[in-house]
């Protein structure tokens, strides 16, 4: 083949251009330490890199969620353990007092101890975690337990003529079940007669009771049937505080605390489409509402205190309360166990993500990062190639026929 001067120039140019381009590429790889510096370097790899990055970012977020959940559960468990200890103590006191007749002074001091326990548990139930109430369900901005004297209606069938309860000060409510003659009970103060003869359900009894109280003692009391429990009547002073309710004998039970939280579940995301519930509500832990074999811890403690202070003292009542407190212990233990199970689950999720993240980071690195040793070797071999090209090109233009024509 005939070789001309421009051909040589073109070839040299092309080769130098190619060598320099490869050299630049190697240099870029080495200085950024990345194999992929733009999508076209490896389009499929780029897609994978973006996937990996998103996954890692998600894993970091899951880990943050898990940390949040764990510290909340640790805190909750601490509160539950304290509650457990307090109730156990109360149970011990009750068991000690049910054994026989102790002196009135001892019972008095036991009653005071129970009151102390009651107050402590009350404050635990209203604990805040951060600026949110721990046991309030979704109503985290409202104190979940308030002291009150709301009444829950019992079985209407249990009502008999003349049953009554007194509302301090100066009022009592009594029931007329037949709609006719009823013997006015022997009680102090103004009687409020509630005619329940036509009522067929607990809700009816609650509604009638509310109406009767508001008619006779409106202005002093404000009775309401709460929307979330139609079987219940809540009585408060017009001023908003709660009266004492005593001498209950109507199938109604009084509560000393009122739960204004809800049964809202709080879930956190710990994986793709995986959520765990991390909260325990006031009902589950303290009031026992909706819990199998549940019991209202505040009522139990109040009953215990009242029983210890009662004159004459009845040890059977106290030993009954011991059984209730055993239930209360089971209830708190149940809630604690649930939290512990979730904690275990969180820990295993955390471990899973830790391992997974290492794998993904490894894969990301393999796809994206340049192997430094390899890149250096490549760079050096390309440098050599470039130098050889330059040297040989220089040699090529050095000589021509003219040099030999003398």
């Amino acid at each position: 083949m005939r070789v001309t001067n421009r051909q040589m120039v073109n070839m040299v140019n092309n080769n130098l251009y190619k060598n320099a381009e490869q050299l630049l590429k190697s240099q870029e790889r080495l200085s950024t330490q990345k194999l992929i510096n733009r999508p076209s370097d490896d389009p499929i790899g780029m897609g994978r890199v973006l996937d990996y990055r998103t996954t890692i970012s998600s894993i970091d977020q899951y880990n943050r969620n898990i940390t949040t959940a764990k510290s909340r559960i640790e805190f909750t468990s601490g509160q539950l353990e304290e509650t457990y200890d307090l109730i156990s103590e109360a149970k011990q006191i009750a068991a000690g007092q049910s054994g026989g007749e102790f002196s009135e002074e001892l019972r008095e001091s036991a009653a005071q101890e129970i009151e102390g326990i009651y107050n402590q548990i009350f404050s635990i139930a209203n604990t805040k975690y951060g600026d949110a109430y721990l046991f309030a369900g979704h109503q985290t901005d409202t104190q979940p337990f308030t002291e009150c004297a709301a009444i829950t209606c019992g079985e209407q069938a249990g009502l008999t003529d003349g049953e009554y309860f007194t509302i301090d000060p100066g009022y009592y409510v009594y029931y007329d079940t037949t709609g006719g003659d009823v013997e006015v009970p022997d009680a102090d103060g103004i009687g409020i007669r509630v005619n329940v003869s036509g009522d067929t359900s607990a809700a009816d009894v609650a509604a009638t009771t509310m109406a009767a109280i508001n008619t006779i003692a409106g202005g002093v009391f404000d009775a309401t049937v709460p929307l979330d429990n139609l079987d219940k009547v809540e009585i408060e002073f017009d001023t908003g505080s709660y009266p004492d309710i005593v001498d209950i004998d109507t199938g109604f039970t009084t509560h000393n605390t009122k739960y204004v939280g809800d049964n809202g579940e709080i879930n956190l995301i710990v994986g793709e489409g995986v959520q765990v519930r991390i909260n325990a509500t006031g009902n589950e832990v303290f009031t026992g509402e909706g819990v199998t074999n549940g019991t209202n811890i505040f009522d139990d403690l109040k009953e215990l205190k009242d029983a210890l202070e009662a004159d004459p003292y009845n040890s059977t009542t106290v030993s009954d309360i011991v059984d209730d407190l055993a239930k209360a212990i089971d209830q708190v233990e149940g809630a604690t166990a649930k939290q512990a199970t979730i904690y275990k689950r969180l820990e295993s999720a955390e471990k899973h993500w830790e391992r997974f993240k290492v794998n993904i980071e490894d894969m990301l690195s393999k796809t994206e990062d340049a192997d430094i040793a390899k890149a250096i070797v490549e760079l050096q071999s390309q440098e050599t190639a470039y130098e050889v090209s330059l040297a040989s090109s220089a040699g090529m233009f050095d000589k021509s026929l003219i040099d030999f024509l003398r």
Binding site: R2, T4, R64, N65, A136, Q139, T140, G264, I266
Partner: protein, 462 residues
């Protein structure tokens, strides 16, 4: 004529002929670096012999023609490949710009902004009434919306720049066409005298090659040496000594420039252009870039629609149902977080209960779970998948156009080398020729001096 004067005559003819050959060699040497130059050769022939009693005796040498050494078919092939080279070169550099707009190889891109946006919803779920979490979510949402808009807006300057490039190319085509027309005229008038217009042909071939880089053409040579250049639509750009002008006009619908004949401005030539830089630019501007714009818009609309729907199902801290979270469109340049939310973060609806319970995070969780929901490409891909595959697609297109460009460059290099090996100047060869002709010249001079001596001898005899 024979005899001594015949010898002198032969010597003189030989001197002139060798001189001519040296002139052409000189021309070749002088143009060793001239682009498009085709080496020339003097065709030497013997002059007619004279008859003598002993037979025919030659009367010497003369030049017949000076001709270019070239392969006509090779030039056609170079032009065809140059059209493709122009196309892929233009496309490669334009797509590289698109790639820069969508470059996710650097650490902060839309992909990252989207990840952080979804994560911020999970943070909100961890503390649904938290002010800090709400403000942080707002920040991440605004960043993501801004990134979407900014990426989308970056496409438009690419298209405007391509418009400018297209207008520039059209001007260049007009110049080249006029040049070819002028050369046609010269070549026809020179070659009418039965002489080869070698250098004019070289320049015209080069102009044709330059034209091929811009737009696809077909050229045919007529018997008088003039060429007709036609464009893809069959109309001639150059015919004889006249050239037609191309022009650009703004398309009524797209607002982008259409290539048209200056004399028929209502008829867009865009579709009939199949090669050259014009093809590459038009393709990127009208097909590739709008495709990415559409995809980005689909993604932003998808996120907006799904998010607004879920957000509307939830309730804010003011116990009201959630309003729109995102508002505006990329097309109108208004894609952003809804002003209701950007002015009051309490309007973010994290709760799933009607009374807007502050501890309820169920709606925030629902929204966070959207990240993994299959909502794009006919419910087969997540938002992240959709975007990632779009980035891969840009990479593949850039890679393909680079590969085609490299292939085309190699092809052209090969053809250029082949052409050079036929038509190029080799200095070594020219040096050999130079010596050869010089020796011829020396010998012819010697011939004359010998004839002179013969004549001297003859005169002295008298």
């Amino acid at each position: 004529m024979s005899g001594i004067f015949g010898i002198v005559q032969t010597g003189k003819q030989a001197l002139q002929t060798q001189m001519k050959a040296i002139e052409v060699t000189g021309h070749n040497i002088a143009n060793v670096n001239t682009p498009g130059f085709t080496r020339q050769r003097v065709n030497l022939v013997t002059t007619p012999p004279t008859s003598t009693s002993v037979g025919m005796i030659g009367t010497g040498v003369t030049t017949e023609t000076v001709e270019r050494i070239y392969d006509r078919y090779l030039d056609n092939q170079v032009n065809n490949e140059t059209e493709d080279l122009g196309r892929w070169e233009a496309q490669k550099s334009a797509i590289e710009r698109v790639e820069i707009v969508l470059n996710e190889a650097s650490d902060y891109g839309l992909n990252q902004a989207m990840s952080e946006f979804w994560n911020a919803w999970q943070d909100l779920a961890n503390n649904p009434s938290g002010y800090v979490e709400r403000v942080s979510l707002l920040g991440k949402s605004e960043t993501m919306a801004y990134q979407f808009q900014q990426t989308y807006d970056a496409f438009s300057p690419i298209q405007s720049d391509l418009d400018a490039s297209i207008a520039g190319a059209v001007d260049e085509i007009n110049l080249k066409a006029a040049e070819i027309a002028a050369l046609n005229e010269k070549i026809v008038s020179v070659e009418a005298g039965n002489v080869n217009a070698n250098d004019y042909r070289d320049v015209r071939d080069l102009a044709l090659k330059d034209l091929s880089l811009m737009i696809d053409i077909t050229s045919t040579e007529e018997s008088n040496g003039s060429i007709i250049v036609r464009l893809g639509d069959g109309n001639s750009l150059v015919a004889g000594n006249t050239s037609a002008d191309l022009s650009t006009i703004n398309n009524v619908v797209s607002g982008r420039k259409d290539v048209v004949w200056d004399t028929a401005q209502w008829d867009s030539l865009n579709d009939s252009i199949t090669g050259g830089k014009l093809k590459g630019w038009i393709e990127v501007r009208d097909v590739i870039v709008p495709d990415y714009e559409d995809k980005l818009e689909e993604l932003a609309e998808g996120i907006k629609t799904e998010l607004n729907a879920l957000h509307g199902d939830g309730f804010d801290l003011d116990e009201e149902a959630g309003g729109d979270f995102f508002a505006g469109t990329l097309l109108s340049g208004t894609f952003a977080v809804d002003t209701t939310i950007s002015t009051d973060v309490n309007k973010i609806a994290a709760s799933g209960t009607v009374d807007g319970a502050p501890g309820d995070n169920s709606n925030a969780i629902n929204i966070a779970e959207l990240q993994n929901a299959l909502k794009m490409s006919g419910d087969t891909a997540t938002f992240d998948d959709y975007y990632n595959s779009m980035i891969s697609d840009v990479g593949i297109k850039a890679q393909q156009s680079a590969m085609k460009y490299n292939h085309q460059t190699a092809m052209i290099t090969y053809l250029d080398n082949y052409r050079e090996s036929i038509s190029g100047v080799s200095l070594d060869e020219e040096m050999v020729n130079l010596i050869q002709f010089q020796h011829g010249y020396d010998a012819a001079a010697k011939l004359i001096s010998t004839a002179d001596e013969l004549l001297q001898t003859l005169i002295n005899m008298v």
